[in-house]
Assembly symmetry: C2
Homo-oligomer: 498 residues x 2
């Protein structure tokens, strides 16, 4: 087809070069059409980029529709505050302070309730504190005469701004009052610089703080009442999700290692994604810390009290990360070049798979414990199972000794030809033994997770699982709640008296 077209295209300019070959001359396109082509290419590229961007945005929205809801909420809060002030424009009445309400909504409205409350508190406290300080400085400056006024104000701005900026480097301040320090600097310099007379300043401060409070209240109400997203609940869900991912990765990695060509092919179409779940655990430290910080400020919601021990979730997270590091090492065993011979792998596969499946059962049970906020009745049994599987694995490793060839290295030359296939090198066994010892290591790290989750269950006073009435009663009696014990004692005494 292409050849035919070429033949029918009519006239063609050719130039014969020095070495005998000839070259066809393509007619040169005009500058206008070249610019047109370039523009077309540019536009196509741009459209493609925008399309990709929108596609990505769509995916994000579909993946977590609450993000879309948050955006609609933010838009709503802003529209409400805007329209209130639009009907009463900036230049009449409110003295230009209406913009502080709009500004507050824009800056304070955050994804989670805790974050919104934290920013609101920061904004109100920072503004108030800075306002009073600036007022004091203003008063002192106005007393000291016109010559010293700029000097005093300049020095105070310099000192306080420097100090507040420095405070933002201190980790404990950074974590909780970063925004407050910023607002403090902002308000202090604005008020100090304003040049209003002191009596006028009071009215101004009153207006400004009241608009800010209106803005923050609106934000807090909207975040709390319309499809609220609680930082605490998010932290809770993140912890459960990470546990499930950890369990999935652990099981998946070991299965992948012992998978003899295609066993998993049908059941897992995307094994990689499941295997790499532990990476989420490795990367969620920052998120967990900020969530725990915000959750402290949230009122009781859902199944959580105001004083729910959110800090304990950080400990759980850290023990999970410690486990994830070992899974990372496990994962590198899969890709390793040195692999044990098939028959050793087969020999070890059952017991290794048992350890990994028992371990991931423990993790899944812990995830369930946290998810349901109920003490598990089977966790002790599952840990026991895991330990016995680990014991089996250790015995299996011990039994591998019998296959090793000890004499080989002592008499390397003479015995070379007589080597039988039933004895093997230590080096050959090594990859699978390392995998096994990593599994043992992981199981001991899982016991740390169990401990931290149990601490959470005790501090947060989880109830025992409902499906086991007898155990629940036992647990209730054993639970060390002084008030409960006192109640019990009083009941007993009352019974004795009767």
């Amino acid at each position: 087809m292409a050849h035919q077209e070429k033949e029918t295209s009519g006239l063609e300019w050719r130039i014969t070069l020095g070495d005998g070959s000839s070259k066809s001359l393509v007619p040169e396109t005009g500058p206008v059409s070249r610019i047109w082509m370039w523009l077309k290419g540019l536009m196509a590229g741009l459209v493609l980029k925008v399309w990709k961007f929108l596609n990505k945005a769509w995916d994000i929205g579909v993946e977590d529709p609450r993000k879309v809801i948050h955006c609609l909420k933010a838009g709503m809060a802003l529209t409400v505050v805007s329209l209130v002030y639009f009907t009463r424009p900036l230049y009449e009445g409110v003295g230009g302070n209406a913009m502080w309400a709009v500004m507050t909504v824009v800056v304070v409205f955050e994804n989670t309730v805790g974050a919104t409350i934290s920013k609101s508190l920061n904004r109100v406290i920072g503004t108030t504190l800075a306002g009073f300080l600036a007022f004091g400085v203003h008063w002192v400056a106005s007393l000291s005469g016109q010559k010293f006024e700029p000097l005093i104000i300049g020095a105070s701005v310099f000192l306080l701004a420097s100090a507040a900026t420095f405070s933002r480097f201190i980790p404990s301040v950074k974590a909780r009052f970063d925004y407050g320090a910023l607002i403090f600097i902002l308000t202090f310099s604005l008020v100090a610089v304003s040049g209003y007379r002191v009596d006028k300043l009071f009215a101004l401060a009153h207006q400004r703080i009241s608009t800010i409070i209106i803005g923050t209240c609106l934000c807090i109400l909207v975040t709390m009442l319309i499809c609220p997203i609680w930082a605490g609940q998010e932290l809770h869900a993140l912890t459960c999700r990470n546990m499930d991912k950890l369990a999935g990765s652990l099981e998946g990695c070991v299965e992948e290692y012992f998978d003899n060509n295609g066993e998993l092919e049908d059941s897992d179409k995307h094994p990689d994604k499941k295997l790499l779940g532990y990476k989420c655990v490795l990367n969620s430290k920052t998120t967990e810390e900020s969530m725990a910080n915000f959750a402290r400020l949230e009122p009781a919601h859902g199944r959580f009290n105001f004083k729910h021990p959110w800090q304990q979730y950080l400990k759980i997270g850290s023990s999970m990360r410690s486990c994830a590091y070992s899974i990372e090492a496990l994962n590198s065993c899969i890709d390793s070049e040195n692999q044990a011979p098939e028959f050793i792998k087969k020999r070890m596969s059952n017991v290794c798979l048992k350890v990994s499946s028992n371990s991931s059962c423990v993790i899944k049970e812990l995830a369930k414990t946290i998810k349901t906020l109920k003490k598990s009745s089977s966790i002790d049994f599952l840990v026991e199972e895991m330990s016995s599987a680990v014991q089996d694995l250790q015995n299996e490793i011990k039994s591998l000794s019998s296959l090793l060839s000890p004499a080989e290295l002592l008499l390397p030359e003479s015995k070379e030809t007589e080597k039988t296939t039933s004895t093997i090198h230590l080096l050959e066994v090594l990859p699978v033994v390392i995998l096994a010892s990593l599994l043992i290591d992981i199981s001991s790290r899982i016991q740390d997770i169990v401990k931290t989750v149990e601490e959470l269950a005790n501090v947060a006073e989880f109830k025992a699982e409902a499906d086991d009435k007898a155990k629940q009663n036992q647990a209730n009696i054993n639970r060390i709640v002084p008030s409960q014990q006192n109640d019990d004692q009083q009941t007993m005494k009352a019974l004795e008296r009767a």
Copy 2:
């Protein structure tokens, strides 16, 4: 002494209880003195807390004096902009827009030059874009009559605020334009709500944007001219520092493992701190990413061009993290309960220590390469050394086979008493063999780091080391720099002609 005092304290009230024992009654203090005690305790606690806080702040300042300098710079910039507007107060002339300059300085001034430039760009672009859009919406709304005006403005605020809020969830936008999106929403709603007539809006927008530009320029000048902290340089230094820490941890861990009681005691007073250096590598991902983002915006500074390949530092960081995960596993070997018998440890210690010291030499050389921006002449040799040490270690593991007792498990009961001390279990060897295999794993991960650093050296066109003239010349000729090659060819031709 206490007894004597009790005797001399005179009168004492005692009460005799039902069971015959007597109890001394302490004279009750008055409510005033109790409140006084409580207040004193409160004050002491508060003073102690403040003292601790100040102490911590002092430590932070001493540890990194540049933080103090940054605070002084911030204070200075703010004082300058404040005093300029203090002499020309807010309520005359500048139409209340002076506060935008103050606000800009407070919000935009950041620790590093790159961060300040990034925020400045975000602020200027966000404000301009939103201003124009709001102006357009205002114009359309004013055309459509008083009835529809609030409707159109409300709808536009809702739509654009929602969309801009959503864009902040998209990772690529979040990383670079998060602040810009915030400023966009802020400016758009402020202008849309303002209710000014369109002709007045232009003058307003002009003033506002010019004050913002004045503020940003002041910030950029102050950050760049007075003791500048460059994000690029920070990223560079962080990478070098992390490499040194990685090398230190690796060497320290292995030394600690083979340390026979107190060898290190004198030389390292704080071995723990050195050992845990790798944790810094694990936790620096977020910092690296934001630094690389800011560094892209910085002009050429020090030894870095404008187009220095900062993204490559992220690859180096990720390969270092992969190595740090293995060191984490190595570190858990130290604390493990299962330890190999001393004589096996001794047997393996030399070759393991050699691998670890050679490996950390490679890392240190890489750190030097990055620090000096010069291609190392000895890196190939060091990698070679490391590989040969790894080979030795593998041979040593192989030779351990000779010590293992294979028959023991086949005849466990009968041979129990005849067991000789020269043969050992696989389980006993295991801990040290695992350590060794982790070392082998680490050395292969180090080779990944070598690769990423070499990529950096090629892309950033590092020069060869100066101390080795002959090699440097060789490297210069081999380097694929077309312009240089052309120069060389021209020189050769000129020589031929002569």
